[in-house]
């Protein structure tokens, strides 16, 4: 499953906010079939990097190469059009809507013919496709036609991930997807990450949590003060190495 083919590369990205250099000459790569963990302390530049990749922020300089082609994502919409989906830390779901409505939000299936032209929704088709998607990812929720506000945090996260995976043809980015979850629910989300990898779609997994990162990642990229300071192989490196790289106490696992 694992390959070296890069789906997405960022090269020499710089981004400053006033006097603050949030990203300094950052190189970062997402490879097919891999879970790439992006770790770093608060303020290390993880969110800025993700925002650049997903078109929320424009870099001051540097290139984004997507499937071998230089691209400019002017908005999150551009990135989504290319098949890059993000699961946000705050989930960004509509709690009063059901799972079906959330998964298809902004991409509703309409009925055929004149009814569709009038905006009528094909509820049955969306229900069926939601059922298949949840089944494939083994996300268990009580009833996809109930509002998400009646679900647990883990179930809501499951729906948010299912939505991203459903529409991500190329890359799924998960920004601290386990931050607000209990132990059992974290296990469920990590399983989900592995299942997404099995489908061949690369995952960028952002987290603070070292055990989770080492549990799920194929490659660990460490950011510190806006720079990529290390790239670690979780098979060889230890949690201490990662923490040392994050905090700068040891330049372990130096990049070539």
């Amino acid at each position: 499953m694992r390959g070296d083919e890069a789906v997405l590369q960022v090269r020499g990205i710089n981004k400053s906010f006033g006097a603050v250099e949030a990203l300094k000459d950052v190189d970062f790569e997402v490879r097919r079939g891999e879970v790439t963990a992006l770790i770093g302390d608060n303020g290390a530049g993880k969110s800025t990097l993700i925002n650049v990749i997903t078109g929320v922020l424009e870099p001051d300089s540097g290139d984004i190469v997507f499937e071998g082609e230089r691209v400019v994502f002017a908005s999150p919409h551009d990135a989504r059009e290319r098949g890059i989906e993000t699961v946000y830390q705050d989930l960004a779901v509509a709690p009063q809507l059901d799972a079906v409505a959330n998964i298809f939000l902004g991409r509703e299936r309409r009925k055929a013919g004149i009814l569709g032209w009038l905006g009528f929704l094909d509820q049955q088709r969306m229900r069926e496709e939601t059922g298949e998607q949840l089944e494939e990812l083994r996300v268990r929720i009580p009833d996809p036609t109930k509002p998400l506000s009646t679900f647990s945090g883990g179930q809501r996260q499951g729906v948010a991930v299912a939505r991203a995976v459903m529409w991500a043809s190329k890359v799924v980015i998960m920004d601290e997807p386990t931050a607000a979850l209990g132990v059992a629910q974290v296990g469920m989300v990590l399983d989900l990450v592995r299942r997404v990898r099995e489908t061949g779609i690369p995952v960028v997994f952002i987290s603070h949590n070292m055990p989770q990162v080492f549990d799920v990642a194929d490659r660990i990229v460490v950011l510190r003060l806006g720079e990529v300071v290390a790239e670690l192989d979780p098979e060889e490196a230890s949690t201490d190495d990662a923490v040392a790289a994050m905090t700068g106490s040891l330049r372990g696992g130096e990049r070539e």
Partner: protein, 331 residues
């Protein structure tokens, strides 16, 4: 869908209880087709306002200006009709040689007024980023003041009576007054639009989590603009019905319509926090005060009691809804 209906079961029960109680107390004086048609015609304007406001509230907004839009639309409609239907002298003698032109153009002018007013509300909310409460509180004054300036503060006289005979008192199929027919069509379309179409889906989504809607690529501002414009248009339509029913534009009669429409929606289970609500609920929420008023009048109770009763129903409805919702979220 089912849970939404179950949520409004309580207000259905209240409405049914009122209908049964007044039927027992008053017999045929209350329980007759004619009386029910009266109730429905009386409620028709408020019904349109409540439907429009329901869409707005589901987006987590509010529209305080619907009563003023109603008045401004009716003044402009009435003045256009008077101006186009004949010369000053002719209309003052109640002859209207050109009313075949004047009335339709007046209706169009009234509807357009509502549309424009709603659009202005939408622009204030989306472009100037004003909170809907402030934006529509401001336009409440602007629209009503404009109506008073145009009309000199008095009801518009010499409106062609044909609008009354052709629209208000005319009965379709031999029994159905036009205001009720308009109400039925609007309610039917609104139910489909809110619960079956992408337009409705976006309305709920924006009220539930506007940021989430934005992130999936929904043009939130554009949708809000449409929703406020819809609310204004329905208020304009209500203004036309008002002119048709009373053969004048009543400048002073609708100052509390905005609150009545909002409380109808809220009694019907629409949440002021957005994301929750239904047209059927708002219909029931409109008819509870209408039935109460009618029943009290027939029973000889001072109509002021209706205000007291509605206030209590409103408080109860919101209280029960909150309890139900927090119970649901604890699951």
């Amino acid at each position: 869908m089912l849970s939404r209906l179950a949520g409004s079961a309580f207000i259905f029960l209240i409405l049914a209880g009122l209908l049964i109680a007044f039927s027992i107390l008053e017999g045929r004086a209350f329980l007759s087709g004619d009386n029910f048609l009266n109730i429905a015609v009386d409620a028709s304007e408020l019904l349109l306002l409540a439907v429009g406001v329901t869409f707005v509230i589901i987006t987590a907004g509010i529209d305080l200006s619907v009563g003023s839009i109603l008045v401004l639309s009716s003044v402009i409609a009435a003045q256009t009709m008077v101006a186009l239907s004949g010369t000053d002298q002719q209309v003052q003698n109640f002859t209207y040689p050109n009313q075949a032109v004047g009335i339709p153009v007046g209706i169009a002018a009234g509807l357009l007024t509502g549309l424009v007013c709603g659009f202005i509300n939408g622009l204030l909310v989306t472009k100037l980023r004003l909170t809907p409460f402030i934006a529509t509180l401001g336009t409440l004054g602007v629209f009503l003041g404009t109506a008073q300036i145009l009309s000199g503060g008095t009801n518009v006289p010499y409106v062609p009576p044909a609008i009354q005979t052709h629209v208000s008192t005319r009965q379709l199929l031999g029994f159905l007054p036009v205001p009720i027919a308009i109400g039925l069509v609007v309610v039917g379309v609104a139910i489909l639009a809110l619960h079956r179409t992408q337009f409705g889906r976006y309305t709920y989504a924006i009220g539930s989590n506007a940021e989430a809607a934005r992130r999936v690529g929904i043009d939130v501002d554009r949708h809000l603009l449409k929703v406020y414009t819809l609310s204004g248009f329905l208020a304009g339509l209500a203004g036309i019905i008002d002119v048709a029913r009373f053969n004048t534009a009543s400048v002073g009669a609708h100052t509390l319509d905005n609150l009545a429409a909002i409380s109808a929606a809220v009694i019907g289970g629409t949440s002021l926090f957005g994301g929750i609500g239904s047209i059927v609920g708002s219909v029931v929420g409109t008819f509870i005060p209408a039935v109460l008023r009618n029943g009290f009048v027939i029973h000889g109770v001072q109509p002021f009691w209706q205000e007291v009763a509605i206030g209590i129903v409103l408080i109860l409805a919101v209280f029960i809804d909150q309890r139900r919702r927090s119970a649901e979220e604890r699951m």
